[in-house]
Symmetry: C5
Subunit: 353 residues, 5 copies
Amino acid sequence: MSRLLKKSKKGGLPPGTLVHVGEKKTEKVRISIIDYDEAHLQEKEAETIEECFPFKEKPTVTWINIDGLHEVKIIENLGKCYGLHPLVLEDIVHTGQRPKMDDYETYIFVVLRMPNYNKENGEIEDEQISLVLGENFIVSFQEKQGDVFDPVRERIRKGKGRIRRTGADYLAYVLADAVVDSYFALLEKIGDEVEKLGEELVSNPTPGTLAGIHRLKSEMILLRKSTWPLREVVGGLERTESRLIQEGTVTYLRDVYDHAVQVIDTVETLREMVSGMLDTYLSSMSNRMNEVMKVLTMIATIFIPITFIAGIYGMNFEYMPELKSHWGYFIALSVMAVIGVWMVIHFKRRRWL
Amino acid sequence: MSRLLKKSKKGGLPPGTLVHVGEKKTEKVRISIIDYDEAHLQEKEAETIEECFPFKEKPTVTWINIDGLHEVKIIENLGKCYGLHPLVLEDIVHTGQRPKMDDYETYIFVVLRMPNYNKENGEIEDEQISLVLGENFIVSFQEKQGDVFDPVRERIRKGKGRIRRTGADYLAYVLADAVVDSYFALLEKIGDEVEKLGEELVSNPTPGTLAGIHRLKSEMILLRKSTWPLREVVGGLERTESRLIQEGTVTYLRDVYDHAVQVIDTVETLREMVSGMLDTYLSSMSNRMNEVMKVLTMIATIFIPITFIAGIYGMNFEYMPELKSHWGYFIALSVMAVIGVWMVIHFKRRRWL
Amino acid sequence: MSRLLKKSKKGGLPPGTLVHVGEKKTEKVRISIIDYDEAHLQEKEAETIEECFPFKEKPTVTWINIDGLHEVKIIENLGKCYGLHPLVLEDIVHTGQRPKMDDYETYIFVVLRMPNYNKENGEIEDEQISLVLGENFIVSFQEKQGDVFDPVRERIRKGKGRIRRTGADYLAYVLADAVVDSYFALLEKIGDEVEKLGEELVSNPTPGTLAGIHRLKSEMILLRKSTWPLREVVGGLERTESRLIQEGTVTYLRDVYDHAVQVIDTVETLREMVSGMLDTYLSSMSNRMNEVMKVLTMIATIFIPITFIAGIYGMNFEYMPELKSHWGYFIALSVMAVIGVWMVIHFKRRRWL
Amino acid sequence: MSRLLKKSKKGGLPPGTLVHVGEKKTEKVRISIIDYDEAHLQEKEAETIEECFPFKEKPTVTWINIDGLHEVKIIENLGKCYGLHPLVLEDIVHTGQRPKMDDYETYIFVVLRMPNYNKENGEIEDEQISLVLGENFIVSFQEKQGDVFDPVRERIRKGKGRIRRTGADYLAYVLADAVVDSYFALLEKIGDEVEKLGEELVSNPTPGTLAGIHRLKSEMILLRKSTWPLREVVGGLERTESRLIQEGTVTYLRDVYDHAVQVIDTVETLREMVSGMLDTYLSSMSNRMNEVMKVLTMIATIFIPITFIAGIYGMNFEYMPELKSHWGYFIALSVMAVIGVWMVIHFKRRRWL
Amino acid sequence: MSRLLKKSKKGGLPPGTLVHVGEKKTEKVRISIIDYDEAHLQEKEAETIEECFPFKEKPTVTWINIDGLHEVKIIENLGKCYGLHPLVLEDIVHTGQRPKMDDYETYIFVVLRMPNYNKENGEIEDEQISLVLGENFIVSFQEKQGDVFDPVRERIRKGKGRIRRTGADYLAYVLADAVVDSYFALLEKIGDEVEKLGEELVSNPTPGTLAGIHRLKSEMILLRKSTWPLREVVGGLERTESRLIQEGTVTYLRDVYDHAVQVIDTVETLREMVSGMLDTYLSSMSNRMNEVMKVLTMIATIFIPITFIAGIYGMNFEYMPELKSHWGYFIALSVMAVIGVWMVIHFKRRRWL
């Protein structure tokens, strides 16, 4: 449940009081800076946040990435330097935000959530990724060190593609694209699980299959909660009239938007398929119950009447003429056999056998 | 049911006839006034409503809080002094309103509902909070004394944050924020209950579990009814073009709006999870029924045929050759054993055992 | 079904051919006129519709109320006098209309439906109320005499509130308000029934409870059909740009709109609660079935095997060594007891007891 | 299924290639012409389509009605004469169109579907009605001769109502109205059936009742498919800014629109009621199953233990002291009776009896 | 599952890096060119993509069709020649796109999906069709050779219809029309299957019927996922204000739009019908279970009591007066018969027989 209801508010404190809300997921805060333009590239691991400030004045694109949010002083100082609104800083450190995009004129604030499949307990966790996109800088905040942005760093270093020739808005697109990509990876894993359960369902359903279906269903509910706002955010970025987003970048954002829509489509489709599997399970279980009942009824219906006949001739009345008859026993056995066979024929006709 | 359908109308009376509709939740009406600007702060408990009137003319921000709505005369006089519309006064004392926001040009009238988890009977109750936001004043109405606004008072007293430097609209934001926060507290409690029931469901489901699920489901229906309009209200405040809301405050209202959306998201997600739990319960019960039926069928299918054989040799026919045979008894026992074992093997093959 | 599908059309006749369609609910048509302004009040029961015509020229507000729609001549003459469109007259006498509002520039035509709980058969009936709002007149049409407008008449007579100081549009608001109020009264009755059924469900569910739930569910479907358009109608009145609605009245119409929304909310919530009750009933019935099956299985599983043992020693084989043994009987009894006790312990472990 | 998926396309042919797609429902194509204005009326059955062409130039209103669509040459020539777009002609002869309205500036093309209850197999069939509304003409196309337009012809002949005084657009309204009216007739029949099934359900449900419910449910799915676009079409006609629709006619079209909405409302309500009936059936069946199980369990629980006792004293052990006792038999009988009575009391307490 | 979640992204690579993502469905890439205007027609199979470039300058309409997407170099070169955006090229070779339409001013990029019923495994596969529509050219991309565009080629060759007289936009319409047509063919096949299953359901339902219903349900979920965006795409083409689409073509696109809506309607209707079939299956199975239970209960209820009586007189008590009676046996038999007959009458009354 902790995943569902991240405590996203500290009650009663005035807005702008920075208190980290959420699990502390990393020990040490790591600040890394990449500063580049087409010709030049500088990379640096900063010890203190103050080392980032000189980059503010430079015309080159500066990307500051901060992993770990529990040292609020760092975020506060950064906020002061870049003139961020207290609510933005609050949203960064309260890590239970819904994905959203807010345009503060001189910068755009974006919150995204990056899902992560925890292999150990089979649960989907997610992490808040906050981005601040300014004129010539991006600050990104992650709850813990991750490797999702590494390919982006690599591309900047190698100067591949458009990334070095364009501004901070293109970098923002690349980062958002990387986050949306992580959903595809997750959905593929879930898709595999759905497929596996689907096969289990057909070949050999066990109570574990049912549990698996219910678990997947819950996961889909939670995943759906985080993917719907994703579309709004990316769509908002694409449609915004902020001068921070250049026209050439809009085409790329539209591409991310298409991917976000595809993620939602796939989540919905998987959800419906899992629901369908539950129906399949229940109806096949109902089928089996029917089979069991038929067996019981057949056995009972064949043997109860003939056992009754045996019971009759087991009575100890002094005067029971049949008992004296030499053929009595065999006649009784024959009658029983006839009844039994008749019942079986009857069941065959009703298609119970 | 009383919670569902608060009598919000008095039939046939002309609008503006003030009659308190709702439960009387407090004995004595309590009127408290806080008047402040950046430099100055005055706090006062008023005996009569007339003591509030002088504050109207002052340029400082005045916050009048009224706990208890059954003395309609007080509300009527206050209304006359501040020029409130009769329908506003009516909505204040009819405590079954749906959350709403009405813009009356010189003031904005807001109705909110504050949920409250009653620990004694496990039900969610809610209380109507009405706010009148004017140029330099706020009047807030509560059905009974509560502690939800205490931290706000504390912040005003201590002069922490922006609250003393800004106008009445910022105070309105702070109060609305406090109300929305109370939903988070409630949802956390419900989330815990859902989690507890979910674990019970897996480990040891009882009829009490089912009752708990049904109760939670009803609670979610009622909670949903009060949270959807909440979003409209806060969204309306954010988008209003009233000159009473300053531009700087809109950013803060957007933040409350985000929280309201998060509340709705969480309510919906909890609702779906509770529905999912009901499905789980029913399917696991169906599973158990299947198990019970299998046991019955197994026992019956093994013993009914062999009991029949015993019945045959219990018949008292004079001429039954097997009875005379020395090994007859043991052969009969063996045949029974063979049938029994064959049945068990059969069941194993069908995976009934 | 007659309630569902009121014949609202006469096939093939040209529009404007006035034929009363619907049940004749009153014997005699009753025409009552109230003419008033702030200073003056005239009340009159008219014998013929022509008596109403002189009031048309007067600057005072005239309210003509007609109970009973089967004498179409009256409606036709009235229509000619006030210049009403043939389709308006048609809609008035075809009493199966959906609530709607049409703006004909010189007048506004409103159709509402007033629900009524029939205590005899427990069904919800409803009646069509048509209103024509002109410059300084209102004509209201009811299918039969009712007392819903009596408090309004009383208020006009006593000159209480704004009613005598304002125009025909305010009177229209008051009448619409009275109709919407009648929904609250009905919903309260339904709410009581839901509560009663809910308690029955917990304490002592009978087949009658199930029937009650299904009946309520049908009622909610029908009620929902008539309440959704209600909101559109009142919302349309509030938003219309017709010069017939003065600005001061819009605030009041917004209030009725809020009430209409509250009615719909409550209908939806009741609907969901009734659906939830059906689920509760079915799952508790499923629970009981489980209990019954467990009892059957327990009895059968304990006694079938030991009855089999009794059957064995009831066989009449000549050579059955156990039968000769002095302790044979008691050993057999003990074995049966052991099997029985072992079964009971087994069931206890499986939590069947 | 043929009803569901009318082949509405001929694969690979260029648009405008006229091939009749659909069932041939009439032998001979019938062309009837009515030409009128306020003073004058001419009626005529045409042998060839060319007889219609002279009417095109006349200022009077011309209504050409064509029953039977399999002779595409007729439609092609008519299209050339009146300058219809190839796609319009294609849509006319491909009789599986969804209701729609297309504005081609000089004429408006409308496709409607007219439902028809086939009494023989109890299925709902529908027929495509195409209308082309021009400046002073209407061409209507029906798949087969029907009597739905007969009352309209009668009204034109008698000169009743507005029909002779107004233009072609009013005639279009009258025809659309006639089509929408046919839905009311159908819904009334379905409503009767729903009512009949509802009563059967309460008094004496049979498997036939269930089949009836499922059949009705399918019918509602198909009916819904054809009624939703109906609203769009009529709404489109009402809102169109084409100069072909005069302002006075718009009021009448709004009336048809209201009826279309009422049709949809009723279809939805019937659909929900039929779904509710299915629930009722299933829950009452579940109830009966419960009853059956209770009877079985009661009988088994009473007799299995006492049969066991009888079995004990049927054993043939040599030393069974009770057997020798003079009162043994009566004591055994009494014990059995006590157990039986105790069971019955037990069941009464559990409310099983 | 592979069908559901086509890997549509290569993680971490910069946009514009062309890597074919998807199954390689054809061995050799086939490039075919058709160049035409009203008077002239040239057809050609190109060996290298460079052969297409000279056509770019010609004023005639050029249609380049490429079957097979795994040789990305071809697509890259084509993209350079026609000035296509890197994202367009990426979308062409990543064959898991959602249908979409993007307007790049000098050309319009359209992605469609063409469904295909695989007869071997009964699954619906689909293939991505990409179209680039420029001033006087169209480039179409298919994953493998197919025959869906053959009738179009034939029409161009024969110069039938408008196709040779109009521009590239009309050709785009014809191609889109061909793709939408392929949905009708598929839906007809599914419709037949639904009908077949429906009949099986009524006459002789087997577990295979249930499996068939579940398979169809999954297919409908997937089909729905691909048809909804289809409507957006065609609607987007119709409403676009691009100068590439001439006014005369819009009418034709509206026709395709109507067909797309009809496809969606049919998919939804089939979906609901399949769901209804599942309900039918489950309720008929429930019915059968009821029948089985009744038989079991009847047999048990008739024979268990009379077997008990037989058991009583099988007891070996020394003093059992009835046993001595001459008529005892016949009286016992009669009592048993009476009980049996009474039970049967009882069941008849309860309508169990």
